[in-house]
């Protein structure tokens, strides 16, 4: 198994994958708690237009991704609660931005490979520079989450109450979406724009079914995201199929398994003794 690490591209994939999994698993808890899964999804799609736009301009796609996700994240955050139930509006905007992305791609010669990497992730093509950029982004997101932890938790559970207690809920909402934008940008490298759910939402959604203690839920979410990423990389190494497929499939299978086993678990827990 150690032969995996003889190749630079595998080492880079594990390094970046590990950092992305930690960030995605941790921020996912708040995404699930705040019911902003759709916003996370929207951010990644809007980011696609930014990434392809940057490619056309000859810039790094990560740069365009970051600018677009940060901009739209701050907007969604500033709208706060008013965005709830605006699924249709968000959907219309993100469909348009995907269309914009397709236009940008057609303006660029390397159409197919670039599009494929952005939409579905290309973790095996990560360079040493990308790993360094990912490390910086990971440190920023983790530091941001730790700094916002208590007031973010408070306003996610009861915004009105948190506001009365002096929590700056709108600033926090913008801050959270900004951190989420950075996290989404990182995760796009691993699973791509279309599969972002698998790393940000699924591990956390599984974790909250096991515990209602926030720190424990965050640790379980991180653990699951790491497990899916590592296992996906190892399986993909020995198979001709893409890493993203294995990561998303592992996440999905685990979620389904947990949901299906719940009635059994409840019965065991409720048993006397």
């Amino acid at each position: 198994m150690l032969e995996l690490f003889r190749y630079d591209f595998m080492v880079h994939a594990f390094e970046a994958g590990t950092m992305v999994a930690i960030v995605a698993g941790a921020i996912g808890y708040f995404v699930v708690l705040r019911s902003s899964a759709f916003a996370a999804h929207a951010l990644s799609h809007i980011g696609f237009a930014g990434a392809t736009g940057a490619v056309v301009l000859g810039l790094s796609p990560i740069f365009g991704l970051l600018v677009f996700t940060l901009g739209s994240g701050a907007t969604i955050g500033a709208l706060g609660n008013r965005i709830r139930g605006r699924d249709v509006t968000i959907g219309i905007v993100l469909a348009w931005t995907l269309g914009l992305g397709v236009l940008f791609l057609s303006l660029y010669r390397g159409y197919a490979t670039e599009a494929y990497a952005l939409l579905f992730g290309q973790i095996l093509g990560i360079s040493a520079t990308d790993v360094a950029v990912t490390l910086v982004a990971a440190l920023v997101t983790v530091a941001g989450l730790i700094a916002m932890y208590r007031p973010l938790l408070f306003s996610s559970v009861d915004e009105d109450l948190a506001s009365a207690k002096g929590v700056p809920v709108t600033a926090l909402s913008i801050g959270f979406m900004a951190v989420l934008a950075v996290a989404v940008t990182e995760a796009v490298q691993v699973v791509g724009v279309l599969l972002i759910f698998a790393l940000i939402v699924t591990p956390a959604a599984i974790a909250v079914r096991f515990t209602s203690r926030p720190p424990v839920a965050i640790l379980i979410g991180v653990g699951l995201a790491l497990a899916f990423t590592w296992a996906g990389l190892v399986i993909a190494y020995y198979s001709p199929h893409p890493v993203s497929f294995f990561i998303t499939s592992l996440a999905f299978a685990t979620y389904v398994g947990v949901r299906l086993s719940e009635p059994i678990r409840d019965r065991v827990l409720k048993a006397p003794g």
Partner: protein, 264 residues
Amino acid sequence: MTDEAIVASDLAAAYGTRPIWSGATFSIPAGSFTAVLGPNGSGKSTLIRMILGQIEAARGMLEVLGGPPHRGNPSIGYVPQGSSFDPDLSIRGRDFIGLGIDGHRWGVRLAGREKADAQVRSAIDAVDASGYADRSLGRLSGGEQQRLLLAQALVGRPRLLVLDEPLSHLDLRNQRAMVQLISEVARRRNLTVLLIAHDVNQLLAHIDHVLYIAQGKLAMGKPKDIITSSRLTEIYSSPVEVISDSRGRLFVVGLEEEVSHPHA
């Protein structure tokens, strides 16, 4: 130390430029239990938000616990309106109550964990919720959620409790138990309580004062003085009738109309 928990003088509230109520002059003694009553949209929550420092008065003077109202006042325990949690909300009651201590502070809790845990335990005991404080908030019944919300309001050792319709999602039996609990805790801890309610009947045995808000005016007094046909008719200069049934329950008829209210 003042003997008045809340003092208002010629206080007025407005929604933008449209007035909600005005000319409110009243004082709420420390340690008393006051019910805030009035029809939907009369501006009860507006008064609460003013006391919490979330909105500014359009005119007049308001003093809360001896000072001007300000957001995040640690001496106020608050239970917001319509607080019923999403069934999927996965956080323990115990952790939620802990947020009442330091949820407004940045970062993670590093020091003082034991002291905070002890405070949370004492608040849980005060509302008799130890049986379900470790379960997920979203999975609890309305009555259990209200008790944990009350524990959250009590955990910071406040002097004033502000409860915005804590009874509205409860059945009659739970309403009675909740009012009983609030009244007991308040007496034991010498708290001033301001409670918004739709129906005064569950409260009559426990409250000292009624603050009536309707048709742009506030009136305060003892329940038996205020909730009478002649007094309410005089205050609102329109025919109001207080009907009492065979069990002594009161029904106020004639104040429901809020013709010109912006929220209506």
